[in-house]
Symmetry: C2
Subunit: 135 residues, 2 copies
DNA sequence: TTGCGTGCAAAGGTTTTGCATGGCA
DNA sequence: TGCCATGCAAAACCTTTGCACGCAA
């Protein structure tokens, strides 16, 4: 384990993450929010911290055709996001962490019939969540 | 229907698409290939043509965390890619068109347990294909 | 003091846009 | 001729990188 310092910028980023848990956001979203709040954190600092968190598995990152730049999402309770499948609502972008048991059969079939070894950490199911279906 | 002219550049792009069906590629891939072949097509022309083809539904586009820029894939025989799940090899990028039957149970579970209505056309399973597992 | 983190500036890559020109039908 | 398409250059974005300095432990 590496040493990690607590700094003003890092704290600000964590604040943002906590206030935006279970929502996707981009580096730009953070910059804009900070800018609005008069908080000053350099963009390179933001990118470096986000990258670090991703490597540690505390943050998910993905790209979306309809969003400019990389999308991130904070996993509140430090779920090991490299080990389970996610579902993403195509409308609001909310991410769900799925139970791997759902895919036990699919995993087997994929390997048997297509020769594909599914990567749980990278797979994203697209769909529409309850809320967005109503509206 | 709009009028569409046949031009040298457009033909070159179509040639590329046909030679690379069922493989993902980026705008850069096209530029590099053309460059190698001594073919000269401006990048803005490439982007404009790709965008046009996407709008017409003749090309799929998506973003991949591990690939720089937008990925495209030409669907040779215009498969109805909006209606089935795809699997993508994280290594070589090859796309597989999956049988929906594999996901019948998952579909039900997702709705029951998470309230998510899966979108078959947008879902992409990540994994490693047979070939890439060997190497 | 040590070494991790930050800010700044610059650069790299992708994609878009405006405008004049070229070329298909 | 009338439009669509292209090339070129510039600009807009996002993201990365090098370097010196700041600061937590």
């Amino acid at each position: 384990m590496k040493n990690e310092y607590k700094t003003k910028s890092r704290n600000a980023i964590f604040e943002y993450l906590k206030e935006n848990r279970d929502r996707r956001f981009t580096a730009r979203d953070i910059m804009d929010t900070f800018s609005d709040q008069g908080e000053e954190v350099d963009k390179s600092t933001i990118y470096r911290n986000l990258e670090k968190l991703c490597k540690e598995g505390r943050l998910i990152s993905y790209k979306d055709k309809d969003v400019n730049g990389t999308c991130y999402q904070y996993s509140e309770d430090n779920k090991e996001c490299n080990c389970h499948i996610h579902a993403k609502c195509s409308v609001c972008g909310k991410i769900y962490h799925l139970d791997n048991k759902l895919f036990e059969n699919v995993e087997k079939d994929l390997l048997d019939k297509y020769g594909i070894d599914i990567d749980y950490g990278k797979t994203v199911i697209a769909g529409k969540c309850n809320n967005c279906r109503k509206s």
